[in-house]
Symmetry: C2
């Protein structure tokens, strides 16, 4: 690939990222004020100053606006895995550290608004559960490839997802101030104490 091609891809990538971000922000604002079911793709596109055609270049449907790229989501978790080792506890801790990078303080208002929209709608809840189930599957595969036996890998992955989603619900609660990492650590400790 020639240099101009790469430059072109970078520029397009940046532009597309911008449009996608604007569409997400516009959608969440509309879902919050007028409800998810009461918002059309046309309204989202208009609020973002873009066309419906552009919307559908970025998202398959209205629901997908609320879901970040699954690969990117999973990569953050996997990115926390230590370079080597097959101790499930160390692997879970690494995965949770990776997850925490997805939720810096500046993301909290967005996550809080998104959570409120999702809780109010069964179809969105189903989609969210599928996302977490796919994540557990990806984590299981990663742990298995580290040499953890299949059953332990599945249980470790499910436990990591349980800690993550429990911590997430706490993190977006009204008035919560602790960092995502701190909350996850405390939830994980509690889970371990519980099953001792």
């Amino acid at each position: 690939m020639s240099v101009p091609d790469i430059t072109m891809m970078r520029i397009m990538g940046r532009w597309q990222g911008g449009a996608s971000e604007r569409l997400r922000e516009a959608a969440l604002g509309l879902f919050t004020t007028q409800g998810y079911d009461g918002t059309t793709v046309a309204e989202i596109a208009a609020a973002a100053g873009l066309t419906e055609r552009t919307f559908f270049r970025h998202f398959a449907d209205k629901r997908e606006v609320l879901f970040v790229d699954q690969d990117e989501f999973e990569r953050a978790f996997l990115g926390g895995l230590p370079e080597s080792g097959d101790d499930p506890m160390a692997l879970i801790s690494g995965v949770l550290d990776g997850a925490a990078t997805l939720f810096p303080e500046e993301r909290r208002p967005w996550s809080r608004a998104r959570q409120a929209v999702i809780i109010a709608n069964i179809a969105l809840q189903e989609r969210e559960l599928l996302k977490l189930s796919s994540l557990a599957f990806a984590l299981t595969r990663a742990l298995t490839s580290r040499g953890v036996d299949a059953a332990s890998a599945a249980l470790a992955a499910e436990s990591a997802v349980t800690v993550f989603r429990t911590a997430f619900a706490v993190w977006v609660a009204d008035g919560e101030k602790r960092t995502f990492a701190d909350i996850q650590y405390s939830v994980f400790s509690r889970l371990r104490a519980l099953l001792r």
Copy 2:
């Protein structure tokens, strides 16, 4: 309520149970042989020797045929709770014992066929995840009402569901002969060892 009314309700209950059971069996047979998407409600009703109208008296749509009554499902788990006590470990064990009553040996062929249909279809997977998520919520509430603090109750409930679904996947695997209760016990022990 007079005695004849009660007798009538019992008879209707039995009859309705019979029709519902026949519709389930017919549906699972068709889903297995010709696929879930390739099967219509009309075909299911015809295979059960019933009308479409009867079908819709029992199920809201085609998808629901594969899902037992959520209340009944949750009652089995809750039915295993010990009469008193607030030790989360004892409560989880009780809940798992309750779950095992749902899956006697004679149910295994049905569960195996159902699992194969669900795994092949994203919409069914989403519905299954929602069912388990509602279960976790009901268990959390039950544990909270026993005096377990909210965070521990949620984690204990999620762990019970993780053990249940992991055990379920093992129980329906080809060639698996152990009882549901035995598998659950071994999965639960493994989870505890893992998080020690």
